[in-house]
């Protein structure tokens, strides 16, 4: 098993290395003539105002929250899915109950309007 992870690790290093080297090379080859106007923030020609790091709407957070919960749910169903062929029907029912409990919450937030983009 470690061998497989070793390959993954090497692949990760390579896939960081290749674009990194390419960018570095291009950086060396390319001309460098910065000036204040070229380096200003692009905002369709309008002078930029205030800081960029302003606050954003709550809706993004809500989606991320719902995603987190469903992600965790799905991830822990994966071991069950692997074992699916070797367990009897009533154990499958347990997994379905697991899903059903969360679906109750899903319906609630749907009714509440958390899934509607505003």
């Amino acid at each position: 098993m470690l061998n497989q992870w070793l390959y993954i690790g090497i692949f990760v290093v390579i896939s960081v290395f290749l674009p990194g080297v390419a960018i570095l090379l291009a950086r060396i080859l390319s001309p460098k003539k910065p000036n204040a106007i070229k380096n200003s923030v692009y905002e369709c020609g309008v002078e930029t105002f205030d800081k960029t790091w302003i606050q954003f709407r709550i809706q993004y957070y809500l989606y991320a929250l719902v995603f987190l919960i469903f992600d965790v749910e799905t991830v822990f169903l994966f071991p069950f899915a692997v074992a699916y062929n070797q367990v009897p029907l009533f154990m499958v029912m347990e997994a379905i109950i697991f899903i059903a409990i969360l679906m109750g919450g899903f319906l609630y937030i749907w009714r509440k309007g958390a899934l509607t983009w505003r």
């Binding site: 098993m1 692949f11 390579i14 896939s15 390419a22 923030v41 989606y63 994966f78």
Partner: protein, 399 residues
């Protein structure tokens, strides 16, 4: 694979011990795969531009070389020697790292794809989860790009892109769950081996959901609202120039092909085909042909459909795809156990039938909730028009 055996033999002849020779082999293999993938991207960029051009009744690139085939090479050379403009006030760490992370997160997927019977990068026993996890790394890269750029449009676009990517990961993960139920394993190679009948036949609805979700995950049209020109200028990569921008560009086109590879591995039987077991090289050819078909479908969709609005995009995911995927999962779980003792033919037909029934029901629900958009005629009737016989002074209501 014979080449790797030969290389291994060569290394052990040189007196390199076993673990080091594995290491070196892995290094060479991954370096070759990564480089080939990056270079092939040039070809994909050209092909996609050409196809989109023809779909939209244009020529597409047609100047450099026959059929403009060297257009992307020329583009690459140009982008390579372009100046790297670093806007003032960027957050240097995230800004410089983001393009590398985005490309890496795309390339990393290749590590787990089985290319043929004997040539598989890594037979990881949690490959399916790895697939999903790498997507998460890409989100981090995009957020870094948006944050580091010190630009409001970029940040807003990064927010949109990451919200879209995380949303569409849910139906994707649930469909993957159904695949794991059918194959009984999370390793990609086992999934390919389990496909005596390709899963697209057993799970047509699952394949459809997965395909839509993967288009959305890649942020391609019709889900390309992270780079909606009219609203957000150009997306999270607005402040990037030179090869750093080129990296985002490459990642975009490469991801389209790699997700086609993943789709054909999961649903079309990967490298399997007549004679692929005995001749491993044939497996790679089959895989590439299947992936090209899926990729072409994606390009076709990109060339034909208009972009969704953000609320529509979220609605499609959370109020249609996710419930449908969960329903499919539960149905497959129950049906698989209920017809467990029956023969494999009956099992297959039950699955197909249930899939089609679910598909029909969902289509019916979609039809019922369809909102007809009233076409409003632009322009009013009594507007004074600049015509010699109808000038403003003659019109009593004019002006």
């Amino acid at each position: 694979m014979t080449i790797s055996k030969w290389l291994g033999g060569l290394l052990s002849n040189w007196g390199v011990n076993d673990s080091w020779s594995t290491f070196i082999l892995y290094l060479i293999g991954s370096a070759v795969l990564g480089t080939v993938a990056l270079l092939f991207t040039l070809l994909f960029i050209w092909a996609e531009r050409k196809i989109i051009g023809r779909l939209q009744d244009r020529y597409g690139p047609n100047r450099v070389g026959p059929w403009g085939i060297f257009q992307s090479v020329a583009d690459m050379v140009k982008i390579f020697i372009k100046e790297h403009i670093i806007p003032s006030g960027v957050d240097p760490g995230p800004y410089h790292l983001a393009p590398i992370i985005v490309v890496a997160s795309v390339l990393m997927v290749l590590a787990i794809v089985p290319l043929s019977t004997t040539l598989l990068g890594s037979d990881l026993n949690v490959a399916v989860l790895f697939l999903l996890a790498v997507g998460g790394l890409g989100e981090v890269g995009i957020i870094m790009a948006g944050w580091g750029s010190n630009n409001k449009y970029a940040l807003l676009s990064a927010f949109r892109a990451s919200a879209q990517m995380i949303s569409y990961e849910i139906p994707m993960a649930i469909v993957l769950l159904t695949i794991v139920i059918l194959s009984g394993s999370m390793s990609m190679n086992d999934i390919v081996l389990a496909q005596d009948i390709p899963f697209i036949i057993l799970l047509p609805l699952g394949a459809l959901i997965f395909f839509i979700a993967s288009i959305a995950e890649n942020g391609r049209a019709p889900f390309d609202l992270a780079e909606a020109e009219s609203e957000l200028v150009a997306g999270f990569n607005i402040e990037y120039s030179g090869l750093k921008f080129g990296m985002f560009y490459v990642a975009d086109f490469l991801r389209a092909f790699i997700s086609a590879v993943i789709f054909s591995t999961l649903f079309l039987g990967g490298w399997r085909g007549p004679g692929a077991e005995s001749i491993p090289a044939l497996g790679i050819v089959y895989l590439i042909i299947k992936s090209l078909l899926v990729w072409f479908l994606g390009v076709w969709i990109r060339g034909s459909l208009p972009r969704y609005r953000i609320d529509q995009m979220m609605k499609i995911n959370w109020k249609f795809l996710t419930p449908l995927a969960i329903l499919l999962l539960v149905v497959v779980m129950l049906a698989g156990k209920l017809v467990e003792s029956a023969g494999s033919t009956i099992q297959a037909f039950t699955l197909i039938g249930l899939n089609l029934i679910l598909l029909a029901i969902s289509m019916w629900i979609l039809r019922k909730n369809e909102t007809r958009v009233e076409i409003i005629e632009v322009g009013s009737r009594d507007r004074p028009v600049a015509r010699p016989d109808n000038i403003l002074t003659k019109n009593p209501r004019g002006g």
